[in-house]
């Protein structure tokens, strides 16, 4: 009899132990990269990011993924060139992973350590500042990832023999909600 109770407890207990405490879903996002050239200032925008956060024991693991080809600069020729230089056909996704304390959702500012996979490279950015605004059950996060072309070993594209600047700051605006 005791064995049966133990088996029942184990059968129901194991899945409950593995289940997350809470989850977050990326509801909407705007990611904007900025490229500077002596003759051009261009921006590419994507609203196609997908993201999820899974919380366990007060720590939340977030994964955000966006297709490289989803960035739109308003110029299809430039977008194709961007995909080419960033090896976007070979590595079609940009993924961002980060771990934050669950309590961070109540802060006005967070500093996130993040791992970004892009263009066949994995780069870790430490202590990137983001601002948080919570309205109802939604949390808006905004900040700038200080990415550069050399971080991802991307050769700077040139126009009229002039290369673009190495810095390609990525502006992040996201709205998350609990699932």
């Amino acid at each position: 009899m005791h064995k049966r109770i133990l088996i029942v407890l184990l059968l129901f207990g194991i899945p409950a132990f593995g289940a997350p405490d809470s989850q977050w879903i990326l509801e909407q996002s705007t990611l904007t990269y900025h490229v500077s050239h002596p003759l051009h200032q261009s921006e590419g925008v994507s609203h196609a990011a997908k993201g999820k956060g899974v919380c366990h024991s007060g720590e939340c693991d977030f994964l955000i993924a966006v297709a490289v080809k989803s960035f739109d600069s308003g110029d299809s020729n430039r977008d194709l060139h961007m995909i080419q230089v960033t090896r976007g056909a070979q590595f079609p996704l940009v993924t961002v992973r980060t771990r934050l304390p669950e309590a961070a959702a109540t802060s006005a500012t967070i500093h996130a350590d993040m791992e970004i996979q892009f263009a066949g490279q994995t780069v870790q950015y430490k202590q990137v500042a983001f601002q948080l605004v919570t309205e109802g059950n939604k949390t808006q996060i905004s900040g700038t990832i200080p990415a550069s072309l050399t971080d991802f070993k991307i050769e700077p594209p040139t126009l009229l023999a002039m290369p673009v600047k190495n810095e390609i700051p990525i502006r992040v605006e996201m709205t998350w909600r609990p699932q």
Binding site: P20, S36, L39, H40, Q41, S42, K50, G51, K52, G53, V54, D61, F62, L63, A65, A67, D72, S73, G74, D75, S76, N77, R78, L80, I83, Q84, V85, R87, G88, A89, Q90, F91, P92, L93, V94, T95, R97, R99, Q117, G120, Q121, T122, V123, Q124, Y125, K126, Q127, V128, A129, T144, I145, P146, S148, D151, K153, L160, K165, N166, E167, P169
Partner: protein
């Protein structure tokens, strides 16, 4: 006299107004943006100070760079930094370089960034890189995976073949762009020499110069066009932006570049016979102007942003 004095008086007032505007705008600019201070101390693994380390702060927003060197006590200081986020790089002989991707400098508080450098020469700073990792699902057992986001392994999988097609396209379009710019030079020269080649001018040498320059322009033009036409097409790409104007202009300058030399050859023949250019050949000039203008617009549309 009065007029002269009045003019000086006017000028002095204008100068004062300009100085006042400059002064007040500079003041309001300072009040709006302020300036911040970034300071810190660089130490080694055992806590000893690192002197003569180079600290470089690059504005993430503007790309402006400032450099400082640590003193004997390992400290450094940046004054008058515009508020914003800065990428800070620390380098010292015998130590691994370190890069902090984002340090916020405000106009009200002093930002402090103390860092510890590790001995060695290999780059293993705060920004670390691993090469050629695919966009694989998370290795963290508790974290979400790409499948959790509704992204299948097929969607995450890249194609080396597609990448090769893009590489070839970019290469051919770069050659197309360079040849197009080179073509502009003989094309402009052809237009300039046209002044002495037609009309009532009888000089055969001028006419021949115009003919040769026109032939060179034509050859370069068709080489340019070849690289655009043969560049691999990327399926499913909707044409947007200035490239639409660039392509639309081709509908004018391609037939124009075929028609212009034909009409030019007829006109050349007529002039050589001592005749006045007549009939269809008289369209050579206007067709050439429209063709040249369309070609110029096509070049400009993808070279500069207005």
């Amino acid at each position: 006299m009065w007029r002269s004095t009045g003019s000086h008086w006017h000028s002095a007032i204008s100068n004062l107004v300009v100085i006042y505007v400059l002064f007040t705008s500079a003041q309001s600019g300072t009040a709006q943006t302020g300036s911040g201070v970034l300071t810190g101390k660089v130490t080694n693994a055992s806590g000893g100070t690192v002197a003569n380390a180079t600290v470089t702060a690059t504005s993430v927003d503007t790309g402006q760079t400032k450099t400082a060197t640590t003193a004997a006590d390992g400290t450094y200081k940046f004054d008058q930094l515009p508020p914003g986020n800065y990428r800070v790089k620390l380098e010292a002989a015998g130590f691994m370089p370190m890069e902090i991707p984002s340090e916020t400098v405000s106009g009200t508080e002093t930002a402090v960034l103390d860092e510890k450098l590790e001995a060695g020469a290999q780059n293993s700073g705060k920004t670390q890189q691993q090469e050629n990792l695919p966009n694989a699902p998370s290795t963290n057992a508790t974290g979400p995976t790409l499948e959790d986001l509704g992204i299948s392994p097929t969607q995450a999988q890249g194609s080396a073949q597609d990448q090769a097609r893009l590489d070839k396209r970019t290469h051919m379009l770069k050659v197309h762009q360079r040849l197009g710019l080179i073509t502009l030079a003989p094309l402009v020269a052809t237009f300039i020499t046209s002044a002495n080649a037609g009309g009532k001018k009888e000089s055969t040498a001028d006419r021949t110069t115009h003919l040769v320059l026109g032939a060179v322009s034509g050859d370069l033009y068709f080489m340019t066009a070849y690289y655009a036409l043969r560049a691999p097409k990327i399926p499913g790409t909707e044409t947007r932006g200035p490239i639409r104007l660039h392509k639309a202009m081709a509908w004018i300058h391609v037939p124009g570049m075929v028609l212009t030399p034909i009409l030019g050859a007829i006109a050349y023949d007529q002039k050589n016979k001592g005749e006045k250019v007549h009939g269809i050949a008289s369209a050579h000039g206007p067709v050439a102007i429209v063709t040249g203008a369309a070609f110029g617009i096509a070049v400009m549309s993808v070279s500069f942003k207005f």
